[in-house]
Symmetry: D2
Amino acid sequence: MSAPRDPRTADLGRLVVRCPDRPGIVAALSGLMAQVGANITESQQHSSDPSGGTFTLRLEFVLADLAGRRAELEAALAGLAGEWQLTWRLTEAAHTPRLAVFVSRTDHVLQELLYRVGSGDLRAEIAAVVSNHPDLEPVARAHGVPFHHVPVTPDTKDAAEARALELIGDVDLVVLARYMQIVSPDFCSRFPERLINIHHSFLPAFVGANPYQAAHDRGVKLIGATAHYVTAELDAGPIIEQEVARVDHRATVDDMRRIGRYVERQVLAQAVTWHVEDRVVVEGDRTIVFG
Amino acid sequence: MSAPRDPRTADLGRLVVRCPDRPGIVAALSGLMAQVGANITESQQHSSDPSGGTFTLRLEFVLADLAGRRAELEAALAGLAGEWQLTWRLTEAAHTPRLAVFVSRTDHVLQELLYRVGSGDLRAEIAAVVSNHPDLEPVARAHGVPFHHVPVTPDTKDAAEARALELIGDVDLVVLARYMQIVSPDFCSRFPERLINIHHSFLPAFVGANPYQAAHDRGVKLIGATAHYVTAELDAGPIIEQEVARVDHRATVDDMRRIGRYVERQVLAQAVTWHVEDRVVVEGDRTIVFG
Amino acid sequence: MSAPRDPRTADLGRLVVRCPDRPGIVAALSGLMAQVGANITESQQHSSDPSGGTFTLRLEFVLADLAGRRAELEAALAGLAGEWQLTWRLTEAAHTPRLAVFVSRTDHVLQELLYRVGSGDLRAEIAAVVSNHPDLEPVARAHGVPFHHVPVTPDTKDAAEARALELIGDVDLVVLARYMQIVSPDFCSRFPERLINIHHSFLPAFVGANPYQAAHDRGVKLIGATAHYVTAELDAGPIIEQEVARVDHRATVDDMRRIGRYVERQVLAQAVTWHVEDRVVVEGDRTIVFG
Amino acid sequence: MSAPRDPRTADLGRLVVRCPDRPGIVAALSGLMAQVGANITESQQHSSDPSGGTFTLRLEFVLADLAGRRAELEAALAGLAGEWQLTWRLTEAAHTPRLAVFVSRTDHVLQELLYRVGSGDLRAEIAAVVSNHPDLEPVARAHGVPFHHVPVTPDTKDAAEARALELIGDVDLVVLARYMQIVSPDFCSRFPERLINIHHSFLPAFVGANPYQAAHDRGVKLIGATAHYVTAELDAGPIIEQEVARVDHRATVDDMRRIGRYVERQVLAQAVTWHVEDRVVVEGDRTIVFG
């Protein structure tokens, strides 16, 4: 990457390690990090069960010449892997993750992602915007982001997904930002734990389409939104973040939709930010979020 | 009532009027109130639809010698009733509503109601506590409230409900404060819009029993509680109030239960307070809350 | 205005009336509205003190051919004005208020206002953006909004304000959207109750400059923002809206600033929205907000 | 202690360690814990500055026969203390901390502490309630807690504090639960980082007496409460927790006081809970809260 060296991310690494929980694992890992000379700046851990559960550790650390010494660090981890049954993910913060954002006609979530990327609050690059409608092309273009209009009909769904995959190329994360199409299980399987959706309700209440109408009919006093990883089972993937907003009897369905937009953009942007900072770990049907 | 005259409630009245929405209704009602000399101190209104919907008005007012002039005020309302198809509820704030509280073994909601009655924040009298377990008798007794232990088995449910009804006598509101029994449709029908339940989840998510376990399994990031009027259809009555609390991946089911208790007590106490202040109006499956 | 007729605002009026509180005032005003044939769709009222205080009423209503019949409605109000000592503000919702937005270098609040205007959530026109720095010109231009760079130095402040006033022309509201200059008392006096500022702290904590540093040093657990009308006394004008966000010991001053931006944009956008919908009434040092 | 062994706390230890931040410290400490055979169940750390700041680590761990092996663990820590300049606090969760609660006339915070102790949510013993008024004696007595009435006048303050100290005896924490007296610097100095106050405002706004009146006059839209350690400088000690509640223009000073009570009890109870679980570490004027 020829981008100027950013002092906030240079030599900053992130390591997420998982293994069966056994006494001594922290000592082994922190010993390894001390040995290579890494200075740990943030550390969070979780055990699903101290007796026989899974241990998860997330470290942020500074290591001089991280890029040059990455192989060495990985070799050291590999040396522990057998004994402790480790799996790990090692990321250099200087690497900017590439996102593809799928939208339909509403722009509020896309606008929020663009704003946060622009402000530096979300350290990612939006590599492409894909939509089944042409409406948001100007929004993407105004931010210098390639826009691909890929219409979808029931008959062309497979071809459309194939076309979209071709267009977005190699990306780290796909974000469904109020994309009003159900993606196929095959599409999901290409982005395991790398496909995030915003569902415009407080899951598992009001799964499916038109949750604001359903929420209004049920007379709820809070409306919500849920960001979750997408799995083959619709609306059932691991939840990353949820938030709610208060409504009262005066709120029409349109009011709920309007209020909901601000919840949706906040929840999805938060989930994406945590994801790209390697703060989210999937554990079965749930997530660990080292927020 | 021989209680000392409370300057906060003496001569304070509350009027809730409903009728088809037509231009002039506010003028007609406020004209009536001006004519009898009532001084309106709070006024809220809602129209389900300005064209052909239902209009609801809630007034708080001060009228000198309200008790003595109640008949006159009702006669004036009756005079308008035909022309405007009015229904109304007129309450004297000096009347302290009588509550029966049904509990099982957990005391947090009962304790909260007792505290709020004691502090004057909830202007009501807890006339009786009924439980299918004996555990909370000391709690009720310590506050000078009669406690009735009415065991329930599947075979004795009808008799138990009949016994409970006899014991509580004439009450204005029945509160199910974590009462772990499903009350019968017949019981419900005796307290139309006067039977409030706290459901320990964010309805309509996790209807039924053990919602905290279900919420944990689903990996939600917010847990909630819902206070609602009880109707014959389980967990489906009109919602009065909801609230949530944040949980993270560390929370066990027990932690959620513990955190949930504080949400439950807050939500139910708020709903009961609004109810006894005539701030809740049922409109179909929903509620209008003039909070 | 030659804009197409918007069915959401056509013939929709807003009336805010203030007068000494006396029994009968609601009857008089609602009688007047009924007489002219206005259909009241929203009504809120407040009395600073039912005995001798000030009564405030806000109505939304639909009146066929409102623009044509405005004079008639005002004449009717004038007819009541003497007897009841009324003052009033009558607005046609079809009139789009013109805003001038003053900024310095940070764009988050401006972006939010532009987004909300674009989405229709804020029914206003941003007539001009004024800044003492040139940085945000592209942001304004991208939305088709005139941008005026008016540098300010201690020596040129008066001239700069005069120049800005000339450039913005006739506007309904001036919004200081993180404008890092103190405006003069003379400037304030030109926009009584029409000049809104966002203060990046929870007033009255941390008045003055650099509140995030001060909040960090004090170790607060919540940071906030305050939108208020600007008066001659710095940071002391009537508060319209406040909100907070949680921070913990890990938050640096920069983190607080970053988190604070999202609070600031929300609080200011909410305050401006309420203002342009005539929902805010100044009463002494405080505001009534009919939210 | 002859109390029955509680499986939730038996052999559960808590260790808070502080030292200058240097690479290797986590390895050294986790190595030590692994060596003695402790199973770490919760671990949180914070560095005030990775280069030359102070490192703080909080561990929860299970160690078989913790009470019997405490000396061994302390010896091992002492062995590291010189090299790393460690200070530490080691607590056995089975030890129930003793609290003295100082109150005046209002009972809401005391009630909340009593409820939480009774429910087991707050694992502490209220050893004594001290008050400058006799009013709350029945509340304490109903929970079997000794109550001491110690009147205070300007002239008798020193003697009164001495008397109170004598009466409460040896306690782990003193809680000022809306105690309407300013305690002396001498009293403060006896409980360094062990004296918690609830201030009924959002500090540093509205320091001093009658903050609700001040908040009302200023027209704030949120009222708050702050729990903090008490130092010799009034209202300036390190903040542990803060929370706010929304109010609107209708709220009188009395309403704010009423709403505020629920915020106060929540904030103080949370702060006390974190304190007794060794989750709060004072760092200069601020606190680290491992919540």
